[in-house]
Each structure stands twice: as structure tokens, then as C-alpha cells.
Amino acid sequence: MTKITSLTELKKLRDSLKEKMESYSLLDHPDSIIQVKVAMATCGQASGARPVFDYFKEELEKRNIPAMVTQTGCMSYCYAEPTIEVTIPGKNPVVFGFVNTRKADEIIERYIRKGELPDGVIPVNYETVISQ
């Protein structure tokens, strides 16, 4: 890893990273891909986020669904842990609560494959500031 030695360099890196990330969710972009984020803060892990994370990683690969499974911090729906967020290219992200491996299977089969919304969707109830 090389050190960033100026603000310009930092901005350049930011732009390329941002572009790459955004490209995942662009419909018809060659890089577009299903994104699954698993909330893995203490609460999430305590209620079983780790096996859910592993399950998505293994199963999506097994079922030949090109996807990126990543961990993230607290989504703040503590009451509904484990929570995950699924982004299908071209669609708004969807948050699911109380996800166990059975639920994960349902999400893969019904939402990711067929685009049907199963139960357990948590409506997003906040706005997030965009930093610039």
C-alpha cells in the first residue's frame, strides 16, 4: 500500500473507489453484482450474524449467483438482529430483520432470484447525511 501524500491524490483515490462501488449497483454495468451486507456489530454477532454471513458467502457461490457479501456495522435495528441489507443492481437496497439461515435461504430463492419480497422487510426510517 502506498501512502497518500496529497489532498489531490486522496480525492483521486476517493473518486475511483466511489465509481467502483457505485458500478456494482448499476443495472447493465459489467461490474454489477448482488450486494449483501450483514450487520456485524456486537448485537448482530451475538444474535447469530456470523453463521448468516458464512451462509450467504457459501450458498451464493454454490448457487452460482455472482455476489459480494460484506460485513458492516450496526444498522441500528437492534430489536431485529441479525439484520442484513440486500442490493440488487438497479433497485433500492432492502433491509431484512431476524435473519437466520432458513430466512437467508428464502431471501436468496425468493428475493435475489425472483425479485419477490418475502416477510421481514424493515422499512428504512432514517435519512443519512451525504458528507459533501
Binding site: 497518500i4 476517493r14 450487520a39 456486537t42 456495522g73 437492534c78 435519512e127 447525511v129 458528507s131
Partner: protein
């Protein structure tokens, strides 16, 4: 629909992978640091923070920019930037969430603070009870060093800054900044009289700027989006947003970040989804053991630093515990006092002994031995403890008692005069009674009573000897005819 919540401090939590600095950079991470280092003087940066109106999120609400300015102005060969991550309020987990979800934002803000105050060293004082947060913080520090956001000659400028971690070891009082500093020095975490404030004489006697995690998490955004933007959010004297850890008898337990000035009603009903099991809202305790309770009559006051104090509570670090009709407020006050008694450092007499006496009086009341005079004692003692204690812990520890006395005096009277606990929490005040009409004399209750307090002939109504009964509730659970009730 416009959402009630606005995430500034939590902007990256649940969004980015906290273990990947690239995710943070993609979200404009370290841009604010780059900006201040290359485009702004320390004074100009402090001016932005001052103008933004940001106040300390750890509880006290001291203007952050002013604190930075004081630290900057004090002469010192070595200064320190300290991050208070000793989140000790029971029921509060804002700081943990930020550190677990977005550790870089804190590191970036600390570096900015170092630039502003002239400090080259940062210290994060974090609870040892937060292993995951520690882990993620360590990863973040390593990555930040690799990218050159920490270390020597940051972003090609002459600014050098690095951060170390110090661990707490289970002492609530260490959230108080002078106690925290002593703890970082390897001493007992006892507070000392202020002044001198840490900004003048802090870690190792050097000027030290202490801010809490959430305060830092706001900094990069303020730099990026400007003071005016931040100051446009919130209420007249409290700017920006506040993160609350919403817990207790509420449907949607979770982290909530709302603009200052949002009402309790909005938080509880619109965001929190209302009270569990459709029960009635009774009180919300804010500020943890230092705070007080807000009741139905406070539901529509806008939540900010000043209004909470006016309502007899305080912002605290942001714990918000919701209670319903099943909670006994005397028992709640006793619960908090038990906590304070356990966590008092013991240095000053009003806190060391006074809180113990408060607790004992409350215990006496919940056991049904209270007298009216005890309520006056609670009040006088509470006021004296607030007035005379050395540090913030003692100066706020009687708040749960005084605030419940103010808002739920009737409940205290029930306990003291009528020896009744309507919420059926205080065991000593309960009597289990068998309804003669309903009892068929099956003897099941008598057979299950661990202390043989139930007598009666088969097929005849049974009787519970109140002298013997230990109020375990086993009989009531076993009775198939709902013949046993609590009076």
C-alpha cells in the same frame, strides 16, 4: 415522507465495511483531514467548529470548539488528544456502535483535533468490555497508518500525529474526564477537583483535549459540509443531531439519531414503534444513572440539552430506557442508586456515604418499612449530595431519586403509607391470596409451595399464610383455576 431520523454521527454505520478503509475513503473519508491540513489554519478550523454550535455529546454539553480553543491556547511542549470511549451508562451503546461501524471517523477527527490544538499524540480510552470495538479500532489504526493518515508527515504536510489505545477496567467513574486521565496514567480512577481542567493540565499534567466518540464522529462532516449547514439542524441552543440508544419496553429497540429538538413522543411512538405489548408508557429515563425520568407530561417537549435539564433529567451520553406501567418507579430509583453505590469511587464523603444512605432508605421503602419522614430525608440528602459532591457522578447520582419523587410522588406514598406497589414489583409489598370462590381444593399449590405456607383440606378452599409466604409466585404459576392473585 421526510424521515424523523437524520444520521450524521452514524452516517457510515451499517453502510460501510468498518474493516476496510477503502470503503471509508469512498465515502469522503479523510477528506476533512486533508482539507484542514492543506487549506485551513488551526484557528480557522476551530472557528468552524465553534460556529457549528457542536456541544459535547458525552453528557455535559460543553461547546466543543471552545474546548479546542482553550487547549490550543494553553502552552505546552506536548499536548494530547483524548477520545473518551468509556461508555459506562447502562443501556447506552452509541459509542460502541460508532467504533464498531465507523472507526475511521473517530481517528480522522482526532487527527483534526491534534492539528487544531497542537497535539501530536492521541489516546483512545476504551472499555475492555468492548472487544469487537477494540479490534476494529486497531485494524483501522493500522490501515490509517499504511495510507499515511496517521504517523509522520500526514498527507505530505509537516503534521505528525499518532494514536494509542488505553483500556478501561470496569469503573463507571472513569467516564469523568479527570478520572479517565488518572486511569490512563495507571492510577485509581479517582476524579480531582476542577479547575484545573484537562485542557490546562491533563494526561501526565499536559494540556489534553478530551471529547467523546460521538462528538468526534460529527467533526469530519462539519468540516466537509460547513458550520452553517450543521447549525441549521437542531434547536436554538443545541445544534445537530443526537444518537440515542433506545431500549427497555419499546417495540423497536435500537439506535436512533434525531435532530436536536425532536420530541420524546416522536422518538417513542414514531421511531420506536410504541410500547411493547400495547402497554401504557410510563417514563423514559435519559442520562442513565445521572439522569432523571421523563413522563407523559414531557412527551411533547423538544429534546435538547437545556430542556432536559429543565425537566429534571439530562442528556447524558444518550441512553434512553423506556418504562411501562409494569415498572415500579421506586424500584427503578433504587436500581440506579445501587449502581451508583457500586460505582462511586469513594473519594468524597457525600457520594461515598450519602448514596449508600439514599439506597438504604429506598430499600427500606420497597420493603414496606418506609415512613413519610423518609421522603423528606431523600429530598434533603439528594440535594446535599448534588451540592457537595466532588465530581459529576456524585453531582448527578441523586437525580433518579429526585426526579421520580417529583414525577411519581404518589407511587412513593403508595409504598410508604399504604404499603402497596401497584406495579407489583416490590415483593415485600405483595400478598398472594387465594380466591375462595375459585379454589377447588386440588392441593397443587400446597404441594408446590417451597415453604409450606399453604394449608387447606382437599376439595376445600386453601389459605396462604402471609407470614410464611416468600412471594416466589410458584403457587400462582401452578394454579389451573386462576384462583390465586396478588393484592
Amino acid at each position: 415522507m421526510k424521515q424523523k431520523q437524520l444520521r450524521i454521527a452514524l452516517r457510515n454505520c451499517g453502510v460501510i465495511d468498518p474493516e476496510r478503509i477503502e470503503d471509508y475513503i469512498a465515502k469522503d473519508g479523510y477528506l476533512a483531514l486533508g482539507k484542514v491540513l492543506t487549506e485551513l489554519t488551526p484557528e480557522a478550523t476551530i472557528e468552524i467548529i465553534k460556529k457549528s454550535g457542536l456541544r459535547g455529546r458525552g453528557g455535559g454539553g460543553f461547546p466543543t470548539g471552545l474546548k479546542w480553543e482553550i487547549t490550543r491556547k494553553v502552552h505546552g511542549d506536548q499536548k494530547y488528544v483524548v477520545c473518551n470511549a468509556d461508555e459506562g451508562d447502562p443501556g447506552a451503546f452509541m459509542d460502541r456502535s460508532v467504533l464498531e461501524g465507523d472507526p475511521h471517523s473517530v481517528l480522522e477527527a482526532m487527527a483534526i483535533n491534534g492539528y487544531c490544538t497542537g497535539a501530536s499524540k492521541g489516546l483512545v480510552y476504551i472499555r475492555a468490555e468492548y472487544p469487537l470495538a477494540i479490534e476494529r479500532l486497531k485494524i483501522a489504526m493500522k490501515q490509517a497508518r499504511e495510507y499515511g493518515f496517521l504517523g509522520d508527515q500526514i498527507l505530505g504536510t509537516g503534521f505528525c500525529f499518532d494514536i494509542e489505545i488505553r483500556y478501561g477496567a470496569g469503573a463507571f467513574v472513569c467516564g469523568e474526564e479527570t478520572a479517565l486521565i488518572h486511569s490512563m496514567e495507571g492510577l485509581r480512577g479517582e476524579p480531582t477537583v476542577k479547575p484545573p481542567f484537562p485542557s490546562e493540565s491533563g494526561y501526565l499534567g499536559k494540556p489534553s483535549n478530551v471529547n467523546n466518540v460521538e462528538t468526534y464522529a460529527n467533526i469530519p462532516v462539519i468540516i466537509n459540509k460547513g458550520a452553517d449547514w450543521f447549525a441549521s439542524i437542531g434547536s436554538a441552543k443545541s445544534k445537530g443531531t443526537k444518537v440515542f440508544a433506545l431500549a427497555g419496553k419499546i417495540n423497536n429497540v435500537g439506535l436512533v439519531e434525531v435532530p436536536m429538538g425532536t420530541t420524546l413522543r416522536e422518538v417513542i411512538y414514531e421511531i420506536g414503534g410504541g410500547i411493547r405489548d400495547g402497554k401504557a408508557f410510563k417514563a423514559a429515563q435519559t442520562g442513565g444513572p445521572s439522569g432523571g425520568c421523563l413522563t407523559v407530561k414531557h412527551l411533547d417537549i423538544p429534546i435538547d440539552y437545556d430542556n432536559l435539564i429543565a425537566a429534571g433529567s439530562m442528556m447524558g451520553s444518550g441512553g434512553m430506557i423506556v418504562m411501562d406501567e409494569d415498572d415500579c418507579m421506586v424500584a427503578i430509583a433504587k436500581f440506579y442508586l445501587e449502581f451508583t453505590v457500586e460505582e462511586s469511587c469513594g473519594k468524597c464523603s457525600p457520594c461515598r456515604i450519602g448514596n449508600k444512605r439514599l439506597f438504604e432508605i429506598l430499600e427500606k421503602i420497597t420493603q414496606g418499612n418506609g415512613i413519610l419522614e423518609d421522603l423528606d430525608k431523600l429530598k434533603n440528602l439528594g440535594k446535599v449530595i448534588i451540592d457537595t459532591s466532588l465530581c459529576g457522578l456524585g453531582q448527578s447520582s441523586p437525580n433518579p431519586v429526585l426526579s421520580t419523587l417529583d414525577n411519581f410522588y404518589d407511587e412513593y406514598i403508595d409504598h410508604v403509607t399504604y404499603k402497596k406497589c401497584k406495579s407489583k414489583v416490590c415483593k415485600s409489598l405483595m400478598t398472594y391470596i387465594i380466591d375462595e370462590e375459585k379454589c377447588i381444593g386440588c392441593t397443587l399449590c400446597a404441594r408446590n409451595c417451597p415453604v409450606n405456607a399453604i394449608s387447606g383440606e382437599r376439595k376445600q378452599a386453601h389459605y396462604i399464610d402471609p407470614e410464611k409466604c416468600i412471594k416466589c409466585g410458584a403457587c400462582m404459576e401452578k394454579c389451573k383455576f386462576n384462583a390465586i392473585f396478588i393484592n
